[in-house]
Homo-oligomer: 249 residues x 2
Amino acid sequence: MLETERHEKILQLLKEKNTVKIQELVELTSSSESTIRRDLTVLEKKEYLKRVHGGASKLQGKLQEPTMNEKSSKNHQAKQKIAQFAVGLIEEGESIYLDAGSTIVEMIPFLPENIVVVTNGITHIPLLLEKNIKTYLIGGFVKPSTNAVVGRDAIASLEHYRFDKCFMGVNGIHPQYGYTTPDQEEAAVKQLAMSLSREAFILADDSKFSEVAFARIADIKTATIITNDLESDIKNQYAGKTDIKVVTA
Amino acid sequence: MLETERHEKILQLLKEKNTVKIQELVELTSSSESTIRRDLTVLEKKEYLKRVHGGASKLQGKLQEPTMNEKSSKNHQAKQKIAQFAVGLIEEGESIYLDAGSTIVEMIPFLPENIVVVTNGITHIPLLLEKNIKTYLIGGFVKPSTNAVVGRDAIASLEHYRFDKCFMGVNGIHPQYGYTTPDQEEAAVKQLAMSLSREAFILADDSKFSEVAFARIADIKTATIITNDLESDIKNQYAGKTDIKVVTA
DNA sequence: TCAAAATCAATCAAAATCCTTCATTATTTT
DNA sequence: AAAATAATGAAGGATTTTGATTGATTTTGA
């Protein structure tokens, strides 16, 4: 691989995440640990980043609130673990639907090349193209707040496709009220995408459990949940109602 | 193959990708590794790019623009004038189709708010949203090199809409062969968008006249051309065949 | 604090890329 | 048309990059 191409990927990921682990970069670039270490050394010398034990971090003039940092990075780590696990379920040659949103975007760096991705998330596109993944975009109204494509035309556009697997973020998971999200139009798109998939997966950290948002997407049993460690009383609530895959962080 | 033709291909790809591998260029130009290496050496000396182990990368900062600029910056001013004139044709409340591509993107800063825009250019989206313009995106395959949405699904997606006006970039304008562009799939999308519009406008600087590219979009008379100053012999060629609006720069 | 685990730096052989040279093929000039 | 000039592709050895291994260092968790 081209030296600068790898450097760009590293800096790109760092831009999104503030900190990166060596192992992530090894997988992202499919090169060896040694190579990544050498890259980091070079990039540090050029003052593009700061090396830290275990990886590298953004180099910024002012440090942010340490409490904020600690919390969000922990949350972020959980998200990444979940995303990485989700990608592990994908097999070569499959066609995949990726929901718009920050939960799902974490999957992209880990995706294999030989798949077809359909998405309604415009912000995913550059990342997908950078990975040389065949990418299809749903047509329709672009919701300004989230850069997600929704509405009547999005529904019609979706009907053109069928998926092996789809991956969704949601705002609420509840044993009785099912999966929910605040926006009615996004819910409709998610619902249809799920019904067009052989298998549906919900990615959610533990904070989403027992929450209920305005618009209902689907019943709890229509998807497999991928989440991080759960408290045991929550686990019991869902026992037998649907598959839950727990990623231990 | 002509030397300059290869050089242009190289620079073109570099523009899109930031970094290119030798092997990519070998395939793209179907010439040997040696030749590509020689080309890169030449282009580096002219400060069009930077060689790196494995290929070449864009040189960033100030150098890249000004060297190119004898041609490009003059060209850019013309493009802007043309774009501004085109926007002047739009009236409040109209529904507009904007083609993907660098010619059309120049229009966006001048657009009024109270219109509806449909586009197949993903890179236009953030600019449009920033201006609070109601934006619809065509669905379909995302062409990596141009970030344009094309293909069968794009065609189907387009059929949902009707436009008051559409604005297009093209690569060739010829009195006999009409409007042409290098990519067959993009041509199909342009063609349909034009036929869905009450009025169609082609934005083109004078370098596009008398050129012919691979894929035909439409006959010369199906659109109004917006261009900068033309030499009089060219003007005569088109006299009576179609409307030409000339923007004096 | 200490020991186990993880991460790191240094080294070296293998692989990939690069440069030089030369014969061959195109293009231009005469 | 022939000669001169320029561009091309292939082959070899030189150089750079890479990945694996080793032992040193740092972090982690009891």
